[in-house]
Amino acid sequence: MAQGKLMTLNMGPHHPSTHGVLRIVLELDGEMIVKATPHVGQLHRGIEKIAENMNYQQVITLTDRLDYTAASLNNFGYCMAVEKLLGIEVPKRAQYIRVIMGELSRLAAHQIWVGTHALDIGAMTLVFYGFRDREMIYDIIEEASGYRLTPSYLRIGGLANDITPDFIKGVREFVKWFPTALAGYHTLLTDNIIWRKRTMDIGTVSAEDAVNFGFTGPSLRGSGVPYDIRKAKPHSSYEDFDFQVPVGDKGDVYDRYLVRMEEMAQSIKIVDQAIENLPEGPVNVDNPWVTNPSLDVVKNDISALIRRFKIQSEGPHDPVGEVYQSVEGSKGELGFYIVGDGNENPYRMKIRSPAFILISALPKILPGHMFSDAIAIVGSIDIVLGEVDR
């Protein structure tokens, strides 16, 4: 409770700068933060418990809603975890398309991040440009899956359906346009003296502290640790692409900003390489227990009809076992620990959400800063409450 000198301020769940329903209780000495306590859980929907009562295919729709700004990356992580447990490998064409969808989602998430981060600090122009370019990504994702924000485009064993020539055209146009847009974002912020004064030497986290706090993703790379799952444990043909992983050195807000901006440039390079070298072939694995048989076979063969019915109603049965698989989400390492026990529902699914661990370090990072720097720091670690609370 408030003592003689300290004021308790509630940065409540309804706040435009907390990017969701995050509540931070701050104790201030004048304008200096002395103690910070985040309270999360206002968006808790019980996704892990619901997943225990759903088929493996149905859980894909739940995972979309985790980090809703970069939905395809969540599907990516979950599908890879289930496929690792089943022991199947997805065909090359599906792997490339998954990479394209994943990197476009990462771009979309970073565009929201840069727009809202700049908006919180006061630079209001960027959010409009970020959302304008994000509409182009939405159109591409809608062409593939029919949805904009929560595509649920990936399936266990591949994709829901193949892509159309319009998709390829849309991606090529976006790849041609985006470097100009990114250069535009840079001219607004990177050398801006006000931006630099607001973000340099704020919220500095050393490399050792960042690793101990459990940071992953751009927040860890901003502090100088080059851990990127796409390079550390290459999966789904990431080793075919030539890209670099940006690493900062001081670990302040400005470094994390630069890391994410450079990540956007690298992501568009990956999308470009993937769409130009897209291999031909099927988009679903050729496994009778996972993939539907094609409709003309189903209409003529009774066993194919039965198999289609079983796959649609129950889906794949995972073997008894446990698996942990992670993917480089836009906030950090998004991991799925799945326990299978031979049924069609996962026995236990635990989602390792990067933003949850990032918020847990706020009580250590915030004290010693001014109150307005708290907004900058919360924006720089880039949280999405859907992922934090699940």
């Binding site: 999360v40 859980g41 808790h44 019980g46 892990e48 418990k49 619901i50 009562n53 690792k84 447990l85 022991g87 690793v211 101990n212 706090f213 459990g214 992953t216 640790v225 851990y227 550390a232 444990k233 076992g321 446990e322 698996v323 942990y324 992670s326 390492e333 991991g335 620990y337 326990v339 026990d341 026995y347 236990r348 635990k350 390792r352 949850f356 661990i357 918020i359 847990s360 370090a361 250590k364 609370d389 699940r390």
Partner: protein, 167 residues
């Protein structure tokens, strides 16, 4: 380091601590006995060759429906920043038993253990701030246990928190 070498190195230092080890689709999973647990975790963090300095996650599994004893298993997922090796450490916990906290070794365990306490009801001895995190503070019951109903409890009825039955 390969999984075989990691296992050998742990067994060389703590010959009786490793109860069982299995391969989880390419990752090494080591079940550790409860007595040597904290020493093994400290060793995994401090050793120069293993150096598992990033604790990725702490999670718990409720074995009620699988009818295994003991009831809970707590799994720690960790990664080494030098070699990017991944290791899963499992601990078998009976109902009502406390688990020593690893917050002193990895700060990342702070909120992860709070979530395990909130959702499964496993207490962590020595934790700096063990209280509920995702549910509200005076919630009764542990939602992710297998005997907690999916649709939750009806707040209008008076009910017994241990048996989840309406009084």
């Amino acid at each position: 380091m390969e999984n075989v070498k990691i296992l050998e190195r742990i067994k060389a230092k703590f010959p009786e601590a490793v109860v069982v080890d299995q391969d989880c689709c390419g990752d090494l999973q080591v079940t550790v006995s409860n007595d040597a647990f904290i020493e093994v975790m400290q060793f995994l963090h401090d050793d120069e060759q293993l150096a598992f300095d990033l604790l990725v996650d702490v999670l718990a599994i409720d074995n009620l429906e699988r009818r295994r004893k003991p009831r809970f298993e707590v799994v720690y997922v960790m990664i080494s920043m030098d070699s990017f090796d991944r290791l899963l450490v499992k601990l078998a916990v009976a109902e009502g038993e406390d688990v020593p906290t690893v917050t002193g070794i990895w700060q990342a365990a702070n909120w992860a253990e709070r979530e395990v306490f909130d959702m499964m009801g496993i207490r962590f001895a020595g934790h700096p701030d063990l209280r509920r995190i995702l549910m509200w503070d005076d919630f009764e019951g542990y939602p992710q246990r297998k005997d907690f109903p999916l649709k939750g409890k009806d707040f209008d009825e008076k009910w017994d928190p241990d048996t989840i039955e309406v009084l």
